[in-house]
Amino acid sequence: MLNVFIHICFLILLPPLLPGVINRVKAVLAGRKGPPLLQLYFDLARLLRKQMVLSSATTWVFRSGPMLGLVAVLLAGLLIPFGPFAAPISFTGDLILFVALLGLARFFTAAAALDAGSSFEGMGAARELTFACLAEPAVFLALLALARFSGVLSLTNMLLAPLAAGPLAHAAAPLVLVAAGLLIVLLAENCRMPVDDPNTHLELTMIHEVMVLDHSGPLLGVILYGAAVKLFVFSVLIGQVVLPVHTPWPALDWLIFAGRMIALAVVVGVVESVMARLQMRHVPILLTAACLLCGFGFILMLR
């Protein structure tokens, strides 16, 4: 019960830290001081207090889209195990619900973007939808590989299986391939370099930022928070595959889990620092590579 409570607290409180860590890593590597680690928390507090400006073109979809997206992503976060602890909700087949919830969030985010009736938002929605189509098969191939490895169809049991098998199990190689593929998917789905540049405000180069141009105040806060939760959930997914660690002390386990999340944020930050954004027409090639990595992971599992 305590672990469920901690799970929910982590899910709600920890996500805004990750973008802070990423930005700090980028700043350090670029020789800058950078914003405070907790900048996103400050931003959220400020945005939630603000009033907002609504475009006269919009309907309820524009207002509810960010909320519905956040609800879907948070529910997805309840399905995935943190560290060696079972997820609060777990049943056979929850992995499909997990993927479908992310799809639901995407539907509403893109629909809310189109509701503003602007070319910019439309452009962002088009890119988001296009790249998601290439990322989705990679996710399914990764899940297939994990299902083959663990023999179960619930996320909790599936993602705790690498833990039981130990870090140097017979399937270490395919798991590494799967994790690499998922890392690319993480970068694409969460709009990080080299797919999207979260810093620019030049509409023509952006995906996610451009979809939310017209949201302001609390709605923008909800969007930023939802994006952070999504990044967190994806990081958990990869972390469970790559670094399964288990100690006899639950408190230490939670600490290790938090440390692992921060380590992954550092990895994302380093990737962002050393890579330039790809041209839009090259992004599909990168995502195809993710599919190939996960696909080879699955095929290696078949032996």
Binding site: V61, M67, L97, L114, A147
Partner: protein, 673 residues
């Protein structure tokens, strides 16, 4: 049984009063609608009776001429397929009240209602047929009445074309099926649809029956590459007929395929794999073509191909389960297949009804000319959104439940220890995922462009009236009913699966479906969809609350400081899909033509992109033109006089008789003399 009988009779006569009344009178339409509702009530009562008490069989009439009796046989599987026939049939008749008013459609109205009623009865007859002859009779009746219903607006050239294409496809399907039933007769000794024993059946004969069934039923079900008739027919027909075509008529092909497959003993694994691959190709390619469409009903038509693909994938998994002796694959596959048959009928009809409402109000189905309708047609927009979420397989709606079952089955083929051959079948799961994501893209495009943003009303070619409201109540009620059923199946999957379980029971090789709960936890899924639905409602409420509390002011959408923004500058559906259409260019082969602005005083620029129907426009039409040119020699035989044709038939029969003569004995006879 008597209930089903009365239902068929009522459906058949429902269109008759209109033929004898004044064309402008309203009452025949109301009478036929009432008769269809009565049809649905008695029919569904009969269906419930069958679900509770099990199969029944009866002889309609003995027909000594063809040596077979017309028989009807009702088992739970047939009853399962009867539900959408009656439900969609009745809701379409209610929709007709507001959609095809006698005042506007004076000439076509009575005919439409006549064909519509016969179509419903014919599809019922197919499902309840107990022997091949009755089945073929129903099949032909369905083809002819659907042809009539599609081409009611025959003053439009495109509709005539679509009708003829449907008729041609329907008869090719009929010919293939006649051949199949003849082979079946040869194997079984009678036309009765009873399971064949494996002893009597040569494997080659069994394969021939399977292939013919796949082609014959595949044409009707719109399976690629036999789907060429489908987009035109769906786009040309009145919307509630499109709903029947897509939601119910295509399922007759699925029903036939399931029925024949269950009669053949011991299907090999290769059949299952073939159907699975065919399904995966259909699912992905169907939605890919949908992305390239500009017309809402054509877009929905291509999504029918996608959904038939999903149904086929599930069927393939079930067959693979029988062949590999894995009851879990069979049960999960079959449950997904049947539940998706219902689901597709529900959400696709919902989508066609809302598309019809949009078209009837704005007089255009071109997505790029619409926009912002969500503000003035909130109920239509809501219905379309629900249908869109359901067809994308997103929770908490019904499409997700059936796709979830299919995913579960596919993932189980890759369980540890399964041979690589079966595990490869699980690769259909990423294909299904890809189809689902493409569907999200396609429906965000359709919903976003039609209902969100601003009206693209400045377009001079659009006859969009300022702010068309929601359609008449008689059109909203059927949409409401279908939307409710979509939500109900999504929130209470266990209840829906009880009915599915009953339908599988006669063809279940592995005992009761209590097994289903042993493989997956449907009840847990139901709880989760319920939780999700409640949280979504909560999220929506917060969004509305924010509007009242925190809105500072309302302004126009941010436009980069551009001086004169116009709503035509919004992103169009074509642009939205352009990235994906480009990526799929090797398949879709879009025609693009553009005229860029040049010079200091540029002429008007234009851009257009169009995706052909590849099989029809790239393969069949050139082939037909080629054949027509090459075979023109044979025109000399085509005199147009009946006597000559009768002579040809006589000659053909004589030649056939000659081939039956004992030619083998001729050399001996010659030697002897």
């Amino acid at each position: 049984m008597i209930f089903i009988w009365i239902a068929f009779l009522l459906a058949t006569v429902s269109g008759l009063p209109g033929l004898f009344a004044s064309r402008r009178a309203n009452w025949p339409q109301i009478v036929s609608c009432a008769l269809m509702c009565l049809t649905a009530l008695t029919g569904l009562a009969g269906v419930i009776f069958i679900f509770i008490f099990g199969s029944q069989q009866s002889v309609i009439c003995p027909s000594p001429i063809i040596g077979a009796n017309f028989t009807m046989k009702l088992d739970p599987l047939a009853a399962f397929f009867l539900v959408p026939v009656f439900l969609i049939g009745a809701s379409g008749a209610i929709y007709d009240l507001g959609y095809w008013r006698p005042a506007r459609h004076t000439r076509s109205g009575p005919w439409l209602r006549l064909f519509y009623g016969i179509l419903i009865a014919a599809m019922g007859l197919i499902v309840t047929a107990g022997d091949g002859i009755t089945f073929l009779f129903g099949w032909e009746l369905m083809g002819l009445s659907a042809f009539g219903a599609i081409s009611v607006e025959h003053q439009r050239w495109k509709v005539r074309q679509a009708g003829w294409l449907f008729l041609v496809a329907s008869h090719i399907s009929m010919m293939v099926l006649i051949a199949m039933f003849l082979l079946f007769h040869q194997a079984a000794g009678s036309f009765a649809l009873n399971p064949l024993s494996s002893a009597a059946l040569h494997p080659r004969l069994s394969t021939a029956i399977f292939v013919l069934a796949l082609i014959g039923f595949g044409i009707k079900a719109g399976v690629m590459p036999f789907h060429f008739w489908l987009p035109d027919a769906h786009a040309g027909a009145p919307s509630h007929v499109s709903a029947i075509l897509s939601g119910v008529l295509l399922k007759m092909g699925v029903y036939g395929l399931i029925r024949v497959l269950m009669l053949l003993p011991a299907p090999p694994a290769s059949w299952g794999v073939l159907i699975l691959i065919l399904g995966a190709i259909n699912a992905v390619f169907g939605v890919a073509f949908a992305l390239g469409q500009h017309e809402i009903k054509r877009l929905l038509a291509y999504h029918s191909i996608e959904n038939i693909g999903i149904i086929l994938m599930a069927l393939g998994l079930a067959i693979l389960g029988i062949a590999a002796k894995h009851p879990d694959w069979f049960i999960l596959g079959m449950a997904a297949c049947l539940l998706h048959v219902w689901n597709h009928a529900l959400f696709k009809s919902l989508l066609f009804y809302s598309a019809g409402a949009v078209i009837s109000k704005t007089h255009t189905g071109l997505i790029d000319r619409l926009g912002g309708l969500g503000k003035t047609m909130p109920y239509t927009a809501g219905a379309f959104l629900l249908g869109a979420l359901a067809i994308c397989g997103l929770p908490p709606l019904n499409g997700f439940i059936s796709e979830w079952l299919l995913y579960m089955g596919l993932f189980r083929t890759a369980g540890p220890g399964q041979p690589a051959f079966y595990a490869a079948a699980a690769l259909a799961a990423p294909a299904l995922g890809l189809a689902g994501t493409l569907a999200v893209a396609c429906f965000v495009k359709a919903y976003g462009t039609i209902f969100l943003g601003l009206p693209r009303a400045q377009d001079p070619e659009s006859r969009l009236a300022p702010g068309p409201g929601d359609p008449a109540r008689s059109m909203l009620i059927p949409m409401g009913i279908l939307a409710l059923t979509c939500v109900a199946i999504g929130l209470f999957p266990a209840a829906a699966l009880l009915v599915v379980a009953r339908a599988i029971s006669p063809i279940n090789h592995y005992g009761a479906i209590a097994a289903l709960n042993q493989y997956v936890s449907v009840s847990a899924l139901g709880v989760m969809t319920l939780v999700l639905a409640l949280s979504l409602v909560a999220g929506w409420l917060v969004g509305e609350w924010l509007k009242n509390r925190a809105v500072k002011r309302r302004v126009g959408t941010w436009d980069c400081g551009y001086a004169k923004p116009s709503s035509r500058m919004q992103y169009t559906a074509t642009s939205l899909a352009d990235g994906l259409v480009g990526l799929l260019g090797w398949l879709l082969r879009p025609h693009k033509s553009s005229q860029r602005p040049r010079g200091a005083f540029p002429a008007p620029a234009r851009f257009s992109s169009h995706v052909d129907e590849v099989v029809l426009d790239r393969v069949l039409v050139p082939l037909w033109v080629f054949a027509k040119n090459k075979l023109s020699v044979l025109k000399t035989f085509q005199q147009g006089s009946l006597q000559m044709y009768l002579l040809y038939i006589l000659l053909a029969l004589l030649i056939l008789l000659l081939t039956l003569s004992p030619w083998g004995e001729l050399p001996q006879w010659l030697l002897a003399h």
